[in-house]
Amino acid sequence: MSVTASDPVSLSETAGRPTPGLLRRLPSSPVAVVGLALVLFWALVALVAPLLPLQPPNAQDYMAMAHPGSTAKHWLGVDPLGRDLLSRIVWGARTVLAVAPLAVVAAYTVGATMGLLSGYYRGWVDAVISRAGDVILSFPIVILYVILIANIGPSALNIVVAVVVASAPGISRIVRGLVMSLMHQEFVAAAYLRRESDVFVMLVELLPNCRAPLITDFCLRLGYTIITIGTLGFLGLGLPPPNPDWGGMVKQATSMITVFPHMALYPTIALVSLILGFNLLADGLTELSQAD
């Protein structure tokens, strides 16, 4: 959308504060509230995990393996190796809520830098960055993850690396588009008149004004990344054992699903509720930003 000087309303809108108080108006969307509640619940569980009176997540209770269902000692029962399921789910929340945001933030750092550079300088910089991104984006995403992780080895760091490689081009594409639409704005021209440096214009003038659409994308990406981490765990490419990882817990329990379905069901429900939380939050935020 081009803004002309004879259009004072849209000028003041775009040049002013972008989406004032999107987070403050959150309570008016029931979808967003439910999403936020789910996310906060798991965040709280992850935070207080060391304080809860739980069994150690990796301790095996051989006696409980005879009756792996729910008992007074093990509220949700035990897994195929006799480890307390409740404790493993609680500690698993810590893993996923540490790795997923870290991976998405890292992907955003790389992706936003790529997008700012290619949207700002255009020309050959843009050509190189966009073409490289296109190659990555043409891969079916799970196949990209499988090839990467199977070869560089499963670990938390390598999952972060894989998420950055797979998501940065997508983020870059969004930021590039936003930057290109902002470049015609008066506040950018004003910054040039003040003889600000390129870095200043990119980081202080352009990046903050890309914020609104990126908040929603961030939530959605968190949801997808948690799906990815869970899927990798299920494929046997997740975090190495014995520490609890929801996807890996499901994988371990699937061989016994016909006898003891609870072992696979509980971690599945935990995972789905967390992803649902982020997706509902993202949906609510989209709805709120469109209501402007």
């Binding site: 043409s138 196949i143 299920f234 599945t268 789905v272 649902l276 509902l280």
Partner: protein, 336 residues
């Protein structure tokens, strides 16, 4: 239009070349080595080293990549099929022909013997899933987008969010728990043979459901957004105001324009389906291409990984091209 297609086809070829090199590069970082995995933990180090040399794995990366391209295009003979090496790698098609993907170290067979059967099974699975996704997502999306903000819209939108929030493997577990463990009406594995007593059709129900449910939710949301946008357009308002029945407004005026955006989304969905099948095939022990790729990646079978990646990328970029061409044909504005 011809020039456009030609340019895109060249781009596609470049993408395939770059991507196949990237795969070679990534397999360089692979821990462990193929020769050791082939011979097992008890083989002597000398034996492992010998096989490693025979497989030409200690040649420089660039040399191996160029040779791989040469073998694939039929310019060069596959050195692994040399009987003097004593590897017993025999391809009935010969050692030099176009489309020679080389020899799979994992399956001990020519890649062309392994790949296409598996791919056929996967195509069956993905095709059936696609046949479910399109009508379901169009139906849900159009119903929800007809009256944006209505209780029906909110209900359907929430349903589609829930559908996209359940990863394929989790959905597999949930469906198996209900239909296999609890109700016992369907089989939990789909090996595509009838030794288990279940018909092939029954074996396909759950894998197709897993793929379809996850993707249909996403497409339905796209259709809904597009439909809601069109319903707010002035020409739809005009049609309503001139007294056309609602049915006709939707069927004759809104629907056709609302379908342009989802058309591309649906085709791009093929890209997601390919990824989804990897997981789904593992859940249900389905003898498809995705599970083969996973096994090949874990083993470090470069020839098979390359072949599988190229096929997946070809399908993905081809559907992208088709969706772009279709978009230009459907939307006159994009042609300018």
């Amino acid at each position: 239009m011809t020039r456009y297609i030609l340019r895109r086809a060249l781009e596609m070829l470049a993408t395939l070349l770059v991507a196949s090199f990237l795969v070679f590069l990534v397999t360089e970082f692979s821990p462990g080595n193929v020769a050791r995995k082939t011979l097992g933990a008890f083989a002597l180090q000398e034996q492992v080293d010998l096989l490693y040399r025979k497989l030409h794995l200690n040649d420089p990366l660039m040399e191996r990549y160029v040779r791989w391209v040469g073998v694939l295009t039929g310019v060069e003979a596959d050195p692994l099929q040399d009987p003097a090496l004593g590897l017993d790698f025999k391809d009935p098609r010969g050692d030099r022909y176009f489309g020679n993907f080389g020899y799979s170290t994992l399956y001990k067979a020519p890649v062309n013997d392994v790949l296409w059967d598996r791919l056929g099974n996967t195509a069956l699975l993905a095709g059936l899933a696609f046949a479910v996704i399109v009508p379901v997502s169009l139906g849900l999306g159009v119903l929800a987008g007809m009256r944006a903000g209505s209780p029906l819209d909110r209900g359907l939108s929430t349903v589609s969010i829930v559908m996209t929030s359940i990863p394929e493997f989790a959905l597999g577990v949930l469906l198996v728990a209900v239909f296999v463990v609890w109700l016992g009406v369907l089989p939990g594995t789909s090996p595509l043979d009838t030794h288990s007593g279940w018909s092939i059709a029954a074996q396909l129900v759950l894998p197709v459901a897993v793929l379809a449910i996850y993707d249909a939710g996403y497409v339905a949301r796209m259709v809904r957004t597009s439909m809601a946008e069109v319903m707010a357009k002035p020409y739809v308002r005009t049609a309503v105001l001139k007294g056309l029945p609602r049915r006709q407004v939707i069927l004759r005026h809104a629907l056709r324009n609302a379908m342009i955006a989802p058309f591309t989304v649906i085709l791009l969905q093929v890209n997601w389906l390919i990824g989804g099948v990897v997981v789904t095939e593992l859940v249900f022990a389905y003898p498809g291409f995705g599970r083969m790729l996973l096994d090949a990646s874990l083993f470090g079978d470069v020839s098979l990984i390359e072949a599988a990646t190229l096929v997946a990328l070809f399908v993905a970029t081809m559907t992208q091209l088709l969706s772009d061409i279709g978009y230009r044909l459907l939307d006159p504005q994009a042609r300018r």
